[in-house]
């Protein structure tokens, strides 16, 4: 708790700085917002001037920043230049798809990566390690947008076992939204057909997205385990007659978990960038695809809202990671 209180003022300063940076960017966007608001080409100078006063654009920069902050805090990011809807509505509609994709990816990389990292540390220098360690470098060197395309080529075009994109087959009724995550909602709705279909759509994008963090998690888990495997308390545990698997997982891994959790958190943040790319490949209707479409259409309010929201989410994830430490390692509790 004290940790939260201590970090709070810094966090407020950080968030203020981030929003100031995004606000700063909006000041340099091409196009005059007053001109656009006054109706564009037909607007008379008086109409533009009127719109400028109405939008508060005639006021000093710091006043406009405070107005921007007030609007952002109440979820008012302006209207999309393309579909004229409030941007916040779109963000609300699109984020669950991204969350589902990112959570699925981080789950895959944790479930696959941690055991592989542990194994390669326990067998350091032997053939299994010689397979896993270069394998992780290999994975880490993959451009995921290309890997995604290759996966579509193989699993959709050649083998025809998985769909090429989207969240559900067109025509299938989505389960009533509870969490917004299709897998969970279809379980709530007891709709096995929708669950299976959603899973089939999710598996390829999530696997591709997990590749980047998987490589990192294997390496960090391995390094953290190597640091710990020769500690005295492990020898004690072995001397007590505990089985090797109990020693490794119960005693060693618990202590190696701090760096691993750090990496999981950092990777979840890094995934934000990967989500943008993966959603573009698989036409996954989430925030990333929304942002890329907005960039293509020069939809400035949408781009800026996306930038602010994802950056704040990134900061929040990093804070959450910091707060998890004391739970894992009592030594950091003081």
């Amino acid at each position: 708790m004290t940790l939260v209180l201590r970090r709070l003022p810094l966090l407020v300063v950080l968030l203020a700085a981030i929003s100031a940076a995004v606000f700063g960017l909006t000041q340099y966007l091409p196009g005059d917002p007053a001109f656009i608001a006054a109706g564009g080409g037909d607007a008379t100078p008086e109409m533009i001037e009127h719109a400028r006063v109405r939008l508060g654009l005639d006021r000093p920069t710091w006043v406009r920043y405070l107005l921007y902050m007030r609007n952002a805090l109440t979820g008012d990011f302006g209207r999309s230049l393309v579909n004229r809807k409030p941007v916040i509505q779109d963000l609300r509609a699109f984020w669950p798809a991204s969350a589902e994709l990112a959570l699925a990816a981080i789950t895959i990389s944790a479930v696959v990566g941690i055991p592989l990292g542990v194994l390669s540390a326990v067998r350091a220098g032997r053939w299994l390690d010689r397979l896993i360690t270069p394998g992780s470098v290999f994975l880490g060197s993959m451009p995921i947008f290309w890997l995604g395309l290759m996966a579509v080529l193989v699993f959709y075009r050649m083998l025809d076992v998985l769909p090429a994109g989207g969240r559900l087959t067109v025509g299938l009724t989505p389960p009533p939204p509870v969490t917004g995550l299709l897998l969970i909602d279809s379980l709530f709705a007891r709709d096995p057909a929708a669950f299976a279909d959603a899973l089939r759509h999710l598996i390829l994008p999530a696997a591709i997205l997990s590749v980047i963090s998987l490589a990192m998690i294997i390496r960090v888990t391995r390094a953290a385990m190597l640091d710990i495997l020769h500690e005295d308390y492990l020898r004690t545990a072995r001397a007590k007659g505990l089985g090797e698997s109990r020693v490794v997982f119960k005693h060693a891994f618990r202590n190696a978990s701090v760096p691993v959790v750090t990496v999981l958190g950092i990777q979840l943040g890094q995934l934000i960038g990967g989500v943008v790319v993966t959603e573009t490949i698989f036409s996954w209707p989430g925030l990333g695809l929304y942002a890329v479409t907005a960039v293509e259409n020069q939809d400035y309010p949408a781009i800026m809202a996306f930038t602010l929201v994802t950056t704040v989410a990134y900061v929040a994830i990093n804070l959450a990671v910091d707060l998890v430490y004391p739970l894992l390692d009592p030594r950091t509790r003081s």
Binding site: L10, V13, L14, A17, I18, A21, V22, L25, Y28, L29, P30, A124, G125, V137, F138, G140, S141, M142, P143, I144, F145, W146, L147, L149, M150, V152, L153, R157, L226, D227, H230, G269, Q270, I272, G273, G274, V276, V277, T280, I281, A291, V292, V295, E296, Q298, Y300, I303, M304, F306, T307, T310, T311, Y314, V315, N318
Partner: protein, 260 residues
């Protein structure tokens, strides 16, 4: 890696063809003897474009890391050498820059600056330098209590001279290792940005941009997107392996740990 370097310097050695020569009769031909990797939607030779694509791809990545490294290292040197309060404050500043997810921020910045490879490099460098600043600062703090620094200070040498002459060279090896591995990250990020449409613009033969266009023809003409992507993968792998080797050479303790 050597091949990629050679492709960057003298692409003419590898192909006699012009990467921008358009031949509509030869559109989207599969790999053959005359076009080893096939042709694209304008009948341009994909192999020639992959060869010529090495230059923009690699120069942009190296420029990005070079820029971040120089700015970041100097900043880190200053931060590490400054007093406690200044150090504390400047570290908060670097935290601010690290708070931005790179791709998102690059998308936002290129919206304002305009698209293109150069603007992507700038957009990524804006946040990337902070990583080097933090690494360099940590090194400076570790090294500046060592005897040889204390000795030269005792000899009355100027502070900036100690910084440049004694601290900088001794702090540099982890920075160099990071830079080598970062070049591979930079290639991936820049290619991803080109793929998203804000990086290199056609007709520049850049690998990421080639994959983007090839994506339209993926299902019927798969060679088009496959080979430029493969080129990215091979070069990135080369830089990663080089970085690992460099780490082993410059920091023998990491080897010992594995053997222990």
């Amino acid at each position: 890696m050597v091949i990629a370097l050679a492709m960057t310097l003298v692409p003419q050695l590898f192909t006699a063809r012009d990467p921008n020569a358009i031949a509509y009769l030869e559109r989207l031909k599969p790999p053959s003897l005359s076009h080893p990797l096939g042709t694209d939607e304008n009948g341009r030779d994909v192999w020639a474009r992959v060869v010529y694509g090495a230059r923009p791809t690699l120069t942009a990545a190296v420029a990005l890391i070079g820029l971040s490294l120089v700015v970041g290292s100097l900043a880190g040197l200053v931060i590490g050498a400054s007093g406690r309060h200044t150090d504390e404050a400047l570290m908060r500043v670097t935290e601010f820059f690290l708070a931005f997810p790179q791709i998102v921020w690059a998308l936002a910045l290129t919206t304002v600056l305009g698209r293109g490879l150069v603007n992507c490099v700038l957009a990524l460098a804006v946040t990337w330098w902070a990583q080097y600043a933090r690494l360099m600062r940590a090194q400076v703090l570790a090294v500046r209590q060592r005897e040889f620094v204390l000795a030269s200070r005792a000899l009355g040498q100027r502070e900036w001279w100690i910084l440049l002459r004694h601290l900088l060279p001794n702090c540099f090896s982890p920075v160099l290792v990071k830079a080598t591995i970062d070049v591979s990250l930079a290639i991936l990020l820049l290619a991803a940005l080109s793929f998203l449409g804000v990086g290199a613009q056609p007709p520049l033969p850049e690998w990421g941009a080639m994959v983007t266009i090839g994506r339209k023809y993926l299902l019927d003409y798969p060679w088009y997107a496959t080979f430029p992507g493969l080129a990215i993968f091979v070069v990135v792998l080369a830089f990663n392996v080089l970085g690992e080797r460099l780490r082993d050479v410059l920091d023998p303790t990491s080897q010992l740990r594995v053997r222990a």
